[in-house]
Symmetry: D2
Subunit: 264 residues, 4 copies
């Protein structure tokens, strides 16, 4: 179905990072397989856009938190579409700020299922074939919560902290087998209609305006960075990279304090 | 049952870190509650040792990976023994080095249940009462795998990476409410008969000998550091600290290379 | 002059961290040598306080940025007073927030001389004797700027970043020779009349009040942590530890945002 | 002299990273200015290669450790050649592994002059014009020693640790003014004839062979990453990125240990 094209598989293919990454890889000669949990119509629209631009893509709905689903998808793609050359794990687990009391056990567990376990399952199902072929790339969208745990982020940060360490253990085992694993710390709000847009609803445009000119990450720009990572030859692989808008204060910085703030 | 003594609760009370920490806090005037998964006899021995030294302690078996167990324990201690002033989450999730293929889904999930979710459950059950009292300490034994993911450590590192971020989110929410959360990175082998000792069996003594003089962490020494952390006044709280034997190469260092290793 | 007492040497012995550390080590049986750049009267007061409390101490003025001074001091102490068992490098390089334009070359260089080079010089002069004796401790007061570079902190952060890496290289070489090097990240304002107090002048009391109850690090409390570090047996050495008041937001955290802050 | 072309300035323009970056930017439409300390002939060769490929470049010798030199170069380029759109600070300070005793004061100071102070001086001299133009990029080649201090790396690590923090303070001040600062952690040996090649001499080819196929970073591949960073639009800027060959163990990992290595 992909013909001779290499396959790019994206889990979490909304109109933001996932969709733009798919479009970028298609522009580079890939067949894209887009998987997302819901909104069949939105999914069809992404596939149609890619086809109208002269590319080829497949869309599929997927409940990644359910056992067996990622495994079935990988098997199906490898069998019916073609060898997966590059995959992007783009599922988020952000639920906004909630106190510990407002974070029930099942929420914390679901955060882990999407934020960490799903990546493990994808790796488990997909990497053996890549190792056999001696090459492949696993890109992982990550978040600031992977490197620091802010108040209210119990579920998200615990999941993302696990995701980051898992990317390191995967890289440690699979880089010498030819598989490139890259962990991308997105340290700023992204112009994603299907995630941030839906969370903010009517307030989305005002939110973006308040961020200033070029104050929100364009998912198309981020997709170029993903493409670059996937093009790096194996003598020069990046494992971790961050990205944010110019006007955003990086996660490790405070806003400059007017008063003297000794020893900080 | 604890009389006027403050209560020190330890989850993962073997003959290593957990048992020594309990003994140290008892020496400092606490009543200790020791919880561990199995070996009723070994548990009774720890309690007896404490009592023979003039202290008071309670032992209880606990399957921490099972729903409701940690919750029931916290409730029981608060109701029947006394207010928990300090708790130590000392459950490990180390299973040795295993390739991804040798790490089945259920192993990865169990690692998370013990390494990350159990701490979340303890915090959920215990912190509200500490907040109400305006004080309390949560000590968390952690491992090198919380800060770097080595080959073969998929399950352990993903769990510990989540544990570390969770300690940060707990600290962010609860420090300003009077609860001290401290994350202790144990970056070396510990002289623990019930964990490392059982894993290595006959080879344990040879392993320690090979490490050299004072080459393995004495859990009694580490217990002093735990005690110090719990004594810090709230104007000067440590959130993260590491510890290792003098002869161990810290996790961020390589052994010095004889050849020139440019740019490393 | 120190008799049989081990010697504690502190560079940067004001009325804050340095003075309190000296008093704590004296209480633990040490003879203290206090060195500071200026204020002979303040220095004499610290020595007198120690003597009136039944301890012994020596005070000396020292321009640490000048070549040969640290070297001469170490030689003099070892020859005339006694073997240095523990030293605290407590010289700061904080000059408040200044833009790049307001940070001339000589300021940046002086920051390095005090913040980084002085520690190198102390290590160079002092560690050989400790290695010969097979034991010793080098405590280093450090700052948030050692782990993140905030706006306006060009000089301070570049110096402290170098200081932190130097502590790691010193530890890597000297821990296996019996010398304990510990890097203490003070991530909060300290109640230091001679540094922060002089910088803020009349505003110091208002500054502390605004921080809330126990909102500023008590240097006496921090001195207890220094003392603990110096007591750790060599099977269980801490290399890095942080400390801050309970109400302070740790350097890696933002203040919780009321709005949804996706992916942060 | 550059005509309408934007100018790419590289400090440390040998036949490795610096020369390849220059060639890459020239291929992208830039005029390159190559500065290096010595080897006028090698420099002329790089310029000729660029011109023969149809590009334009200027070569200049520069003793970056001497006061006024970087400043004069920036002024000359801006005045005589054209506005600097992108600069690469590519000066190293690696001197191989040396014990503290074998690292004299002047060596440590020179490491800082090249590894940290030179970058500060470049920023001081160059950034005001970039701010005035509202755009510009400062790329900084860095090393593993910026994030961990290995044994024997006193001079290099202290300089690089300062360099990394300085990149953060520069980014904090200048990103919101339109200047992109990126810190590139090169965590592997580079195929650089003028630096590593000269250090290893006859052993260089054997060294590369021992690293395995694609076991050494191709500076041309790294130059593509530099180019990508300079192309990122300001809504999506990377501040820190690492790179290494696939067969290299990342700095945070150990080689997998055959034995059980608990808690590491």
């Amino acid at each position: 179905m992909a013909g001779d094209k290499p396959v790019f598989l994206v889990l979490g293919a909304g109109a933001g990072i996932g969709g733009h990454a798919a479009a970028r890889f298609v522009a580079g000669g890939y067949h894209a397989v887009l998987a997302r949990r819901s909104d069949e119509e939105g999914l069809a629209r992404l596939v149609t856009q890619i086809e109208q631009a002269g590319g080829s893509a497949t869309g599929t709905l997927l409940n990644a938190s359910e056992d067996g689903t990622i495994e079935e998808l990988v098997e199906r793609v490898e069998r019916d579409i073609g060898p997966i050359d590059c995959a992007l794990y783009n599922l988020g687990a952000q639920i906004g700020n909630r106190s510990l009391e407002e974070t029930p056990h099942r929420t914390f567990e679901l955060g882990w299922r999407l934020g960490c376990f799903g990546l493990f399952r994808l790796a488990h199902a997909m990497l053996p074939a890549m190792v056999e072929r001696g090459k492949g790339t696993l890109l992982v969208t990550s978040a600031t919560a992977a490197v620091r745990g802010n108040a209210g982020q119990h579920s998200h940060a615990a999941a993302m902290g696990g995701r980051r360490m898992l990317c390191q253990t995967l890289n440690a085992e699979f880089a010498p087998k030819g598989v490139h694993v890259a962990h991308v710390i997105v340290d700023g709000a992204v112009d994603s209609p299907d995630t941030l847009g839906k969370m903010l609803g009517d307030r989305f445009e005002a939110f973006k305006d308040a961020k200033g000119e070029d104050g929100v990450v364009d998912p198309g720009a981020l997709a170029e960075t993903y493409w670059h990572l996937a093009q790096q030859p194996r003598n020069c692989w990046t494992h971790e990279i961050d990205a944010r808008p110019w006007l955003d204060v990086p996660w490790w910085n405070d806003n400059p304090s007017p008063a003297i703030d000794t020893r900080k």
